[in-house]
């Protein structure tokens, strides 16, 4: 089955080609249906007639696009499952690498178009195509009335293709192709409704901020090639084995790789694009900006585990940045009113958790949290999508221009959308780390790994800016606990304002609120089940739940990351002390419960909208610490000013001057030449005679003298 791995990415590409063609074909304007209608009548027919709301007009090729768009991803998922099952049965430990053709054979540089199937990449394939399928199905309902329906599905298919290339590539350049490709799709989908400047700007922001990260990835690749003479994963892993641990080369490469991660995975200092990326359609936020693309950075670190295991300093840097991001984003999420912004900052915060895990060498914990986070965050986003859909439909019908994403316009929705309500609570309990839900186990594993590494590991023995690693890791553990506590608070706050208390959407709209159609709630139910039971993927040994097998994910990923983990822990496989494990689990669980209780007690949903003067700290949080403004002042404006003055007026002036001087010279020479040709026969005769005299004179002088 592994021989068919090429079909996994190519199926979504096929979907992109067909849907893209349908989109172009469907965009051809055929004119009004009945040209004989008087102009006014046509206007009315095009306008949103309240009587027409019963039967919304479907975009062109609706059925074909729906079937192709969803089917290609579902088929890729089925193929992925088949390969996965085969791998489970065969129990292979070596990666399966299939080379298709040499891509860049340049001197020493031999880069092949090759795909690699191993435990890590197939896990990512399952997450991407599995959740991708659910989100494609959800989109059928969510985007059903959009004129750009075919274009949307074309982009979404293209995204799945590039994401699969990213995780399946057998070397860094192939990964980079996928890395850039998903960035492109992210840009296209954030600015999907590009007719509004805000959305187009958000897309540009994401694209430009990610360029900074790409610089890091390129530098890391150059360094790897210069020192290892190969960019294949297998080659780099082998070469890393010969490298001295803690050396400057490993640290530099790792830090450059992490710079790439801060861009793609929205970590400090490059996280600012992700909240703005919420300008795209909500299923896009769920798929790209929560479940898959933004976790590419985590995948990159795990993929390069052999290198990161060599550099405790880089690992500590990742931990510090991850923890800082987790805390910063969690505090910002406390005061956001846009439901998608809350979830966006929550995503940034949870990505911080993943990076803390992979930074301290807990590659399994990081991947575990990646998978469970994909479940519950996709559910939360899709649930928010359902809410926005319901509210938008109601506002649309009453021609109200209120913001369908503002939680101040929601409230009490549990009476109107019971399914969404229950499912989003499941996801909230999961992300808050309430015991038995998926997030509890993964977050507990992240925290447990951090604690373990603080006790004994190469990281503990290293120093980071003069701070002993052990002390730093214990501090980070405390910070992460606080971030987890905040997570429970802001998620509960979001749920309370959205689904509980009195309804604030308006008297006219209230009767129009209803649950989304089944094609949208269906995927939510599946994700709800996964969010509730995802923890079984990797039960800790001291928590055998219903006799289910333990450490599934740990054993599964062991061939890929096992050696790197062992290297971090001084060559011994660390088994967490059961007492300590249970204690940490109880702490993590009670933190979540405490957070939810505190939020329920303190938040008064009836007091929304009252113009109460807010304390300064809350205003700072609501304005996201003014980081965007700060970046604008420090980077954007000086850069624009510099471009205006030095580049435009200065450098551009010099280049223009040089070009113009060449043109001027040519013109001057031709003018002088033209002046000689006066058209006066007399002048010509004079020149002729003078010339003859000169020649004769020269002859007389030199020949006869």
């Amino acid at each position: 089955m592994q021989n068919y791995i090429w079909a996994v990415p190519l199926l979504p590409l096929l979907g992109f080609v067909i849907n893209g063609a349908l989109s172009l074909f469907g965009a051809v304007h055929l004119g009004p249906a009945d040209p004989s209608l008087p102009h006014e009548a046509r206007e009315v027919a095009l306008d949103h007639d309240p009587a027409e709301h019963g039967a919304p007009t479907r975009p062109r090729f609706y059925t074909a696009v729906t079937i192709i768009g969803c089917l290609v991803v579902a088929l890729a998922f089925a193929l992925g499952v088949a390969i996965f099952v085969e791998m489970v049965q065969s129990g292979q430990t070596q990666p399966f690498v299939q080379t298709y053709f040499p891509w860049m054979p340049v001197g020493d540089l031999q880069i092949n178009a090759a795909l690699q199937v191993d435990q890590l990449s197939i896990l990512m394939v399952l997450v991407i195509t599995g959740i991708g399928t659910l989100i494609h199905i959800f989109s059928v309902g969510y985007m059903g009335d959009d004129p750009g329906y075919a274009r949307y599905f074309a982009y979404l298919n293209l995204f799945v293709f590039f994401m699969l290339v990213l995780v399946l590539g057998a070397n860094y350049p192939i990964l980079f192709v996928g890395w850039e490709g998903v960035g492109l799709c992210s840009y296209l989908l954030i600015g999907f409704w590009f007719s509004e400047t805000v959305n187009a700007d958000a897309g540009k922001k994401a694209f430009i901020v990610n360029r900074i990260g790409d610089y890091g990835l390129l530098m890391a690749m150059f360094l790897m090639f210069a020192n290892f003479k190969t960019l294949d994963y297998t080659g780099v892993t082998a070469a890393a084995g010969n490298l001295t641990a803690g050396g400057p080369l490993a640290t530099t490469i790792c830090l450059f790789l992490f710079l790439a991660c801060t861009g793609k995975s929205a970590q400090i200092p490059l996280y600012v694009w992700l909240p703005d990326a919420m300008a795209g359609p909500t299923p896009v936020s769920a798929l790209i900006h929560a479940a898959t693309m933004v976790t590419a950075g985590v995948y990159l670190v795990v993929r390069s585990a052999a290198l990161f295991a060599l550099s405790p300093v880089a690992g500590l840097t990742i931990c510090v940045v991850g923890a800082a991001t987790a805390l910063l984003a969690a505090t910002i999420a406390l005061k956001q009113w846009d439901i998608k912004k809350v979830l966006a900052y929550s995503t940034v915060s949870q990505l911080g958790f993943m990076f803390v895990a992979v930074g301290c060498g807990g590659y399994v914990a990081g991947m575990f949290h990646l998978v469970t986070h994909a479940f519950f965050k996709a559910l939360l986003f899709l649930g928010a999508g359902s809410v926005i859909y319901a509210l938008h439909a109601a506002y649309h019908e009453t021609h109200n221009h209120a913001d369908a994403q503002d939680m101040r316009n929601m409230g009490g929705l549990r009476h109107y959308m019971p399914w969404t309500w229950i499912l989003m609570w499941i996801a909230t309990l999961a992300i808050s780390g309430i015991p038995l839900f998926a997030g509890f186990f993964s977050k507990d594993e992240v925290m447990g790994t951090l604690f373990d590494r603080a006790q004994d590991s190469t990281l503990r023995d290293a120093h980071w800016l003069g701070i002993p690693g052990g002390l730093l890791l214990y501090t980070l553990y405390g910070i992460m606990l606080f971030a987890a506590f905040l997570t429970a608070i802001y998620m509960t706050r979001m749920m309370l304002y959205t689904f509980h208390g009195p309804n604030r959407s308006g008297d006219d709209e209230r009767p129009l609120l209803r649950e989304a159609p089944w094609i949208m709630t269906g995927p939510l139910v599946v994700l709800g089940v996964l969010s509730a039971t995802g923890g079984f993927l990797n039960l800790p040994p001291f928590f055998p739940l219903f006799g289910a097998p333990i450490n599934l994910l740990k054993n599964w990923l062991d061939p890929v990351v096992g050696p790197a983990i062992i290297r971090t822990t001084h060559g011994v496989a660390v088994e967490t002390d059961p007492t300590l494990g249970v204690t940490l689990g109880v702490i993590a669980g009670s933190i979540g419960v405490l957070g939810i209780l505190l939020a329920v007690i303190r938040i008064k949903t009836t007091e929304v909208g009252n113009a109460v003067p807010e304390p300064a700290i809350e205003r700072v949080l609501e304005h996201r610490y003014y980081v965007d403004e700060l970046y604008d002042r420090i980077f954007v404006r000086p850069l624009v000013a510099l471009s205006r003055t030095v580049l435009w007026k200065g450098v551009d002036g010099m280049i223009d001057g040089a070009v113009n001087a060449v043109a001027w010279l040519g013109r001057a020479v031709s003018r002088a030449g033209a002046a000689i040709q006066s058209g006066q026969v007399g002048t010509y005769a004079w020149v002729l005679v003078l010339g003859v005299l000169a020649v004769l004179g020269a002859f007389s002088l030199f020949l006869y003298a």
């Binding site: 006066s678 058209g679 007399g682």
Partner: protein, 97 residues
Amino acid sequence: MLPESIAISAVLFAIGVVGVLTRRNAIIVFMCVELMLNAVNLTFVAFARVYGFAGQVFVVLVMTVAAAEAAVGLAIVIANFRHRHTVDLQAIDLLKG
């Protein structure tokens, strides 16, 4: 005989050159060109007495060419006069760059 003939033809040639260079009337310039040609003819004839009759053959050739040239050249001058009502060479400068 020979030096005298050469001297006369040199004087004739110089008169022709000066006429071509200084006069503005196309007809006179034309006549001066003819004068130059005939100065050369005189040289040919003079040398033919010493070196054999090849020079005389050349003279016939030059006269033939001069006749053809006169026909064409005068036709051009007349055609130009019909259009521009002038035979002043300084006014005829359509081919200037």
